[in-house]
Symmetry: D4
Subunit: 252 residues, 8 copies
């Protein structure tokens, strides 16, 4: 449920067009919609400022479509993450204005453009980290933020990072995507004062342990005040940036 729809409801109550008790009941019923296999949380946009996204891994194409239709039907914007190209094919004809980022495996359908947000810079240590960064970039866009991409600037060739000093200093928040040893987060965290969120990726082999080494490295970063999300969780990092930047916009 979008906040504006709610306001409309409340205004009806205010001008006597709707009984308060009826409104309460309606509100309660609207808060989620029950499918046979899911309860779509229409209330989330109201509570948190962003709609429920569909995590598509482990859901059938039919389930994804049904949930997507429920979300779009309630007037919310749609984000579907970890979506294979084959599953996306089913959405394409049926969800209006849906768009697919193949590298980030994410589909987006914007019905209601978000208010302009902040500027977030995304840095990846290598080429292989890009898909996770793209998931974040699309999510940021759907929430109204500008995503600046600085890719393949790992610390083994640290001059590549320093050459981008200006774009790094310009950002309102930084997302750092790195697998292997995850050292990029410490260097970036040490040269900036804005919020920095590390996204460990599952890139690497052997002792990279599917991203666990990058995660633990980032949690032990000698740069203070950096925070971390789950391995490969580009969507979560973008939402975290949104939690940070939304109040900044409101204050303007």
């Amino acid at each position: 449920m979008r906040p504006d729809l709610l306001k409309e409801l409340l205004e009806k109550v205010g001008r006597g067009a709707l009984d308060p008790a009826a409104a309460l009941e309606k509100l309660r019923n609207l808060s989620f919609e029950q499918l046979p296999f899911a309860r779509v949380d229409h209330h989330r946009a109201l509570r948190q400022g962003w709609p429920e996204a569909i995590f598509c891994e482990g859901k059938s194409a039919e389930q994804v479509l049904a949930i997507a239709e429920a979300i779009v039907g309630s007037g919310s914007n749609l984000l579907a993450t970890r979506l294979d190209a084959e599953k996306y094919a089913l959405l394409e004809g049926k969800i209006p204005s849906v768009r697919y980022n193949r590298e980030g495996r994410i589909a987006v359908a914007i019905q209601d453009a978000p208010p302009p947000g902040g500027k977030v810079t995304l840095l990846t240590a290598g080429t292989s980290d890009i898909p996770v960064a793209e998931e974040a970039a699309e999510t940021l866009g759907a929430l109204g933020h500008a995503a600046e991409r600085i890719y393949d600037v790992g610390v083994a060739g640290i001059h590549r990072l320093f050459a981008e000093g200006e774009r790094i200093r310009d950002a309102e928040a930084l997302l750092v995507f790195a697998g292997m040893e995850g050292a990029l987060l410490s260097v970036v965290g040490g040269i900036s004062a804005v919020p920095v969120i590390g996204v460990p990726t599952s890139i690497g082999y052997g002792t990279a342990l599917g991203g666990m080494t990058a995660l633990f490295g980032m949690l032990n970063s000698c740069a203070s005040g950096v925070t971390v999300v789950n391995i490969d969780n580009g969507f979560g990092a973008a939402c975290a940036a949104h939690r940070i930047l939304a109040p900044l916009r409101e204050g303007e």
Copy 2:
């Protein structure tokens, strides 16, 4: 080095009282101070808006004192974390206006009051998580932020949490301290829209694995957009909140 000292230096250059080349050299030399066993990073306040803190675990009382004197001598505020009461005894007479939080094992000496900051609410799941929260609370205070404490509101008695709904909704950022299964983060993350940072604590036994279970639980939180710091890292969580709230203040 404090930003105002730097400005003074640059102004001297501007009015011809100092040769630019000499200023550059001075600037470079001032950026850190070399003790026999440490390089105090005076430059950090300039780069990041907060001074270097001393992590006292594994350092002798003498080393802590020497680094503390170097920091205070440069005009910066002092934060010394993981400081035993015995080691603190040595600081007490020698560092002016130093103060000790026994529960949080942290010493603070404020020479230069920070500008007024934001409002951060700290929630702990249990009584045993309080020391980690106190480390964060003192750090927040030293950086100018107000720390609201809501302690012992774990999800097994969830009415205790909901009774504090107002104070939770009021916060500009939320820090959630929990050991064991760390479930408090998911519940708090689901009912709020501001930045939420989870601090897993090493509380629990057996499969609590010294905080690892709480950490992994928090990283897998079904509430989107929450971020996490290292186990028991109250200081780091406070610095992360500062990275988030500092720009909000500047904009005012």
Copy 3:
């Protein structure tokens, strides 16, 4: 071997129709049936009140069929878990009245309806946990219990859970299925007084560690008196509920 068959045997002894020594020997021989690759434990229903189930993973379709025929041939009900649709195809013509739950990957053939049992409520945190819950639901049904399904009520949208308060309070036992951080168990355990069994699922990625994080989270639940079974073990959770509820029925 079904208890009633045993009683018949013993009655024959009682009325002199069978020599006690012969009965003993027969009893012993009947306790299990030796296939080339398995010893079907016909004695289990007698000892424990439920028949041996077939865990089909790692068994060939032919082995599954042979064991199923031995179980059905002894007059017991059949439960075959972790059964692929392809393997099920072989059973379909050959085992009378067999039925297949595709989502729960479980086949059931009831020859002898169980006495009416208790009321068990199954809660899942998300949509992806449903297959494990369905395995439990079918097992409960085969043992005579009513399975109430409340799916997709994870704690990130905790109002969805509280909206089902009545159905939760009505249950005689609660099974909680959750992957990721498994926090749902703590919240449910905290608001109910009946037996609560957690079933960690392998849903999630990265630090979800294939269900290990949910398992450890559940074992560390701050709600006291909840117990846990192996990851994805819906069958085991249903059997545990049966151990709990069977005496309640007997007492009526």
Copy 4:
């Protein structure tokens, strides 16, 4: 808060001696009591049938005493687990009728005798598992259940276990305490039909991994329908038995 106190309150409302709104407020305020470092959950007895227990590890003797006084002051029974003898010394004079089980490191103060409960049999694999079993035995007693102790019956000398067949068959619930490989659970689970709860203990060395091997062994038990609690969690196992047996008593 004890249920009978609540009934009294509601009856006052019923006969007009108390205003409903005032009663509601009172009810809400009474649900927990705020100490500087804890919120004692007086409401728990109402919700779950057993009072909040104090987990004493990591709490100072003063904190334990304060919480104990709050619990006893509200008319509830007291259970304090993981309590060192030194900390107990402080309680001894101050909490009326308190009693200490040194082996189980647990203190109990019964103000209000619980209704008679069920019969629970506790089996330990070895002598070293006894302290964990004693914590459970005391907790069971405080909740009104009879605790039958069968100690040191590990499977390496399986005749010791079978010699106790009758007492095992008599139980309404079985708690199995075992460290090392935890095999006792599977054998006991295979010969009984009542609820069986495994409590892995931290006994053993090397690959015993502080109880992790026993835990994992128990979770993988080939005996179906057994459940498990955290390592060394005797208190939790007793609470789980209480959840199971309480309804059986009520029905009588």
Copy 5:
């Protein structure tokens, strides 16, 4: 190199038909045979009483064939473990008298019948452990020992095990194959006095951890004097039995 060939060589030296220095050189050269990708250790039969076996996983069918031909060419018996049916197809025409055990995925070619050995009993906990046991059974046969198979006697139906008491007591060595919690080893180890070797298998799911739980359970067995080999290592267990039984045969 077979011991009898060596004896022939030494006898030539003894009767002057071969110069000692030349014999030494020949001996050294014969000890292994260099293929482009392997050094076949012909000397092993001499040192240890059994020939080098081929571990086929990760080797191409061509490599397996070449090594097999080298072994057979030197007059030794052939054992090829972890051999897929497809790879075996290549051997079938080319290695004389080769035979394949599909379940155990092992090929055997006996050129020189071994002297009659001991009696080894193989017990599996379940049906799924049989392939590992079959690898051991074939290896034992190739080394001259009789392999008694007692399959599917896990402890959840312990009467199935005790029904085989006589065959267990008859064995000169016992091999116990079990996945999941591996409890069978402790029970068998407790009722027998002969050498008992545990073979953890990778059977199970979730916390079975690919056999690690069975392994750790076996290493912590409360039955003293049992030993363990690597997960799924049926071949190794058979060789260990051979090391034990060979001297018993020699003494006859």
Copy 6:
């Protein structure tokens, strides 16, 4: 219970001095002796050829003494492992002919000399592995076997090992004690044909992981047919050697 005592009992039955039913009852009752905290398994010597040993870690000195007196009182030999010098002090006056090996932390009291056994060679990789080897050496002695000690022959100076070739070839069984990487087992296993048992020790630091690295290394030994016991389990390795060598002696 010692086998000779049993034989006496049976002979009484044979010559009519004891009723068979009474003998059976007596036999059953004698099989274990119940202390308040332990069931001493007197039957073990009969079943397995060696008496129950006391694992003293986690038992009080009083418990150790009581169990020791029960064992000695039944006429069996005594082995008490993991026994601190302080706890031993209590035994010294009270158990006749008891003796203490301080390095191996093991006490032995022989009442009945065992029949002469085999020759077992113990090799340690370093000096720090000696305590574990001494536990094994004393156990072997108590069971009648000769223990040959070859200490500090790790593979980094492999000439030290080869200098002992003759004593290695002479052994009927080899026990290899090594921490760190445990490589000694593979080298010894490769040059000998008799039974070889690896005992990983907890020696080393960092990635030695308390013996886990040595254990896993040994389980993956490229020398076939070696087996392994738990970390630091010298007693278990000696019992395993006894299982192997006892039949060899009987055959003579």
Copy 7:
């Protein structure tokens, strides 16, 4: 960027053909080349003496080709590791003089022959370790070093290793490739004085843990002064050898 190209640039500056400021700018711009998904580090050859290599796993064939063309276009030599045969097919026509080692899954294109380097000996414990060794061998060749191959000399047949004593003593650096328990490193490290680098491989099963056991074994080697690289990292080991041997060549 190759050093000789840089020298040319600087010489232009020296003879006035290029303005220093322009040269600086050019230098900076030349240091890396930005593709849409990668920043090729042309500067690396200058800093470290070897060009950037392409790690092809997780990159599309198109990405590999584009980066390869950028590297070759800048005049550098090309190394592409972890390259599947199918991806290589695309390079074959388009990169001049490219060559493929199928076993080592590595492609090499030499445009500029490196100066003659050192002599490096590669030892593998088994046949299955050869692919990792081949990756190292090709890398060494591309950097100018001679790679001596001694394959399949694991310690279970230690005479195979000692038979190669001379070639081992001749080497200027030794690379040891071993999976399973990794013991070969300790033996080789103990008999040689030159630099020895261990490369754990992912060969083995069960407790081999994908190479982790070999890695930890190597890190705990009792041979002092050996170092280790990541699991299966043949390329990294070759680069480490190059770092060691390059200065030796320069000194000649």
Copy 8:
């Protein structure tokens, strides 16, 4: 045994003063010296160019002294690592010219000055890593190399590192000591071309996992050609540097 002593022996043989067979025997006997609990490897200096060091952890002061006297008695230099100050007290009067580095917990006694070696630079990320670096520095000194110390230059204040660029570029080998996330190795490895050896330290808390995170981070370094030793193994890193630099010296 020192090489010069060996040469003397061989010269005696050359001039007929010693019978070759007698020399051989003498040589063999001299290769190690057998103490009751250790075999001192006098041969090591000959094989590898550095003497056996004593790892003192887990050895009694008496054992350390006895081994030290054997080493010094053979004319070799002495290195005793992980030596507590209390144990050192015993050595002080009895080993001539012995010296103690309290921070590095290492004792050194030089009887025979080594030939001048190379220049090795030691970098630590923090103050707490210094003890491990000091162990390496003393070892290097005893082997003839110059140890340059650059301490407390972690990447969070990366300007501190770059300020030392010249001393870094000057080194013939670099040792990098870092705990926590270990990122310093990647940065240093990326800006230098000489051999770089990472030494993970056990500094940090929570997910630092006792140095495991630093170790895994270093093994996954994106800087190619860096190698790693065990956690806290300063001695091993110094020996590795000696293996690298010794040939450079010989060539001069």
